[in-house]
C-alpha cells in the first residue's frame, strides 16, 4: 500500500516537472534557446496569484495565465528576437540577464521574504480512496496536466500553426522556405510556454502556500535537467524526462535513509551526471536533430 501511495506522489510531482520541462523544451526545439528565465514566468504568475488571491477563482486563474503569457511574449520581443541570428550561447546569456532582471525587480518591490498566499487551502486536504489518501492538490495537478498534454498533442497534430511549429522545430530555415512565418511560430511557442509556466505557478503556490522572488529558480533547474534527460529538442522527451525526475525524486525521498533525505536533490543531480555518461543525447534525441548542419 505504501508503494502505491508513493506512486501517486511520484506521478503528481512528475506531472509538475513535466509541465515545467515542456516549457523549456518547446522553446529550445523551435529556437535553440535554453530559456532560464522560464522560472521567472512561474514566479510572475505566483506573484499575480499573491496580489489577487481572494478574488473569484476564474478571475484569478485568467489573470495568472495572462500575466505569465504576456511576460513570455514580452521577453521574446525584447530580449530574444533581436538576437535570433546570434549564436546559442548569446541567447543563453540573454536569458540569464532577463531572469536576474525580473527577479530583482520583484525583489525591489516585494522584498526578499517569502509571503504567505492562502490559495485554495482546501486543496491541502485529502480524499480517501480504497484505503489510499490522495491529496486533492495532487489529484487536480495530475488531471490538469493530462488535459493540458492531450490538448497540446492535439494542437501540434491537427492545427495549422501546430504543424508549422513541428516543421520549424525540425528545420527552421526550410520551414521559412515554405512560407512559415518565423516570428509567428516563435511567438506561439513563447505563449504556450507562458501558459505552461502559469500552471506550475498554481501548483507551487498551492503546495508551499507562499511566494518569493526565487521560487522559480529551483523549478527551472529541474525542468532543464528533465528536458536534457528526455533529449533537448524533443518535446515528448521533455515531458518524459519531467515524469522520470519526479518519480526518482519521490523514490529517493521515500527510500533514502532518513538522515540523507534532506539532501535528496543532491542525489537527483548525481544520478543525472551518471545518466549523462550513459546517454549524453538524452532518451528521445531525434536523429534529424543530430544530423543538423
Amino acid at each position: 500500500m505504501i508503494v502505491l501511495q508513493n506512486a501517486i506522489d511520484a506521478v503528481s510531482l512528475g506531472a509538475v516537472y513535466a509541465l515545467a520541462a515542456l516549457g523549456i523544451g518547446l522553446i529550445f526545439s523551435v529556437m535553440r534557446l535554453i530559456n532560464f528565465a522560464h522560472g521567472e514566468l512561474i514566479m510572475a504568475g505566483g506573484f499575480c496569484l499573491y496580489a489577487l488571491v481572494g478574488q473569484p477563482l476564474l478571475v484569478v486563474i485568467l489573470a495568472v495565465l495572462i500575466v505569465s503569457t504576456v511576460l513570455a511574449l514580452g521577453m521574446e520581443r525584447v530580449a530574444f528576437r533581436p538576437l535570433r541570428k546570434a549564436n546559442p550561447a548569446t541567447l543563453l546569456i540573454s536569458s540569464f540577464a532577463v531572469s536576474y532582471l525580473v527577479q530583482h525587480v520583484v525583489l525591489m518591490i516585494f522584498g526578499s521574504r517569502a509571503m504567505g498566499v492562502p490559495f485554495l487551502p482546501e486543496l491541502g486536504t485529502s480524499i480517501e480512496f480504497l484505503g489510499l489518501r490522495i491529496p486533492r492538490l495532487q489529484l487536480v495537478t495530475v488531471i490538469t496536466t493530462l488535459v493540458l498534454m492531450v490538448g497540446l498533442v492535439a494542437f501540434f497534430r491537427f492545427s495549422r500553426i501546430g504543424l508549422q511549429m513541428r516543421a520549424a522545430a525540425e528545420d527552421f530555415t526550410m520551414a521559412r522556405l515554405v512560407g512559415v512565418r518565423a516570428n509567428r511560430v516563435i511567438a506561439f511557442a513563447f505563449a504556450i510556454s507562458g501558459i505552461l509556466a502559469s500552471m506550475v505557478s498554481f501548483y507551487l503556490v498551492a503546495q508551499t502556500g507562499s511566494v518569493s522572488y526565487k521560487m522559480g529558480v529551483n523549478m527551472v533547474l529541474i525542468a532543464f535537467v528533465s528536458s536534457v534527460i528526455g533529449g533537448m529538442g524533443s518535446v515528448a522527451g521533455a515531458a518524459l524526462g519531467g515524469f522520470l525526475v519526479g518519480i526518482i525524486s519521490v523514490s529517493l525521498q521515500a527510500y533514502l535513509p532518513v538522515d540523507l533525505r534532506p539532501y535528496r536533490d543532491a542525489f537527483v543531480f548525481m544520478l543525472f551526471i551518471l545518466f549523462l555518461f550513459w546517454r549524453p543525447d538524452g532518451l528521445l534525441m531525434s536523429r534529424a536533430d543530430r544530423d543538423r548542419v
Binding site: 504543424l163 508549422q164 513541428r166 516543421a167 520551414a175 521559412r176 522556405l177 518565423a182 534529424a288
Partner: protein, 241 residues
Amino acid sequence: MLKVTDLSVAYGSITALRGISFEITEGEVVAVIGPNGAGKSTLLLSIAGVLKPRSGRIEFAGRNITGKQAEALVSEGISLVPEGRHIFGSLTVAENLALGATVRRDRQAIASDIDRVLAMFPVLKDRYRQRANKLSGGEQQMLALGRAMLARPRLLLLDEPSLGLAPLIVNQVYQSIMDLRQSGVTVLVVEQNVTRALAVADRTYVLSFGAIAMSGRSTELAGTAAFDTAYFGVSREVEQE
C-alpha cells in the same frame, strides 16, 4: 521576371559571389552550372531570401526584393528546393505537402493541387501517411518538388535536383521539370550534371569563383571549346591571368 544586378554575397570575410548580373524572362528555364564552390547554391539562397546580399539588387516581377525575408518571398511566388532536399523527415508525406501550401488559403484548390502532385509522383500516394524519412532519396526529391509546387510558385529555384539519384529517377525528376514549364512556371536550376542542365535549359550560365564565366543558349554552349575551358579548366586559366 527575375533581374539580378551586381549581386555580391559574402560569408564573413569570404566572398562567395562577386558582382553577378543576369536576367530571366517569364517562362524560361535557365541553368547555372559550375564546379563545387563556384557560388551556385549561394546564388539561389540569396534569391530566396535566406542569405542577405552584401551589395547589389534583386528584382522580381518588377519589384525590388533585395533583403526581403524568405517567408515573405514565398507569397511573392518564389520557391526554393534546396540542395539535399530538406524534407521534414519526422513529418508524414501528407504533412510535408500540406506545409508546401502554407502561404495559401484556398482549401479546395490546395486539395486538387495535392491530387495533381500525387498523380505526377504516384509513389508519394502509396506512402502518403508514412514518415518522410522512410522515403528513398529519389522519393524525397519528388516530395521536395511536390512541396515546392504546392506554393504555386511563379519562379522555381532548384538546387542540384539530380544529386545522388539513380539515372532513372533523374529522368523522372527532369520530366516533371518539363511539365512544370508547360504550366508556365519559370525555372532556375543549378546543376553539376552538365548534360542534364544543357538538355533542359533554354539558356545556361557558367559560374566560376563567384562570377559568371560564360553564358548563352544551351544548344550553342554545348561542345564549344570556350565552354569546356570555362567549365573544366577554369582554375588553370585564372592562374595564367
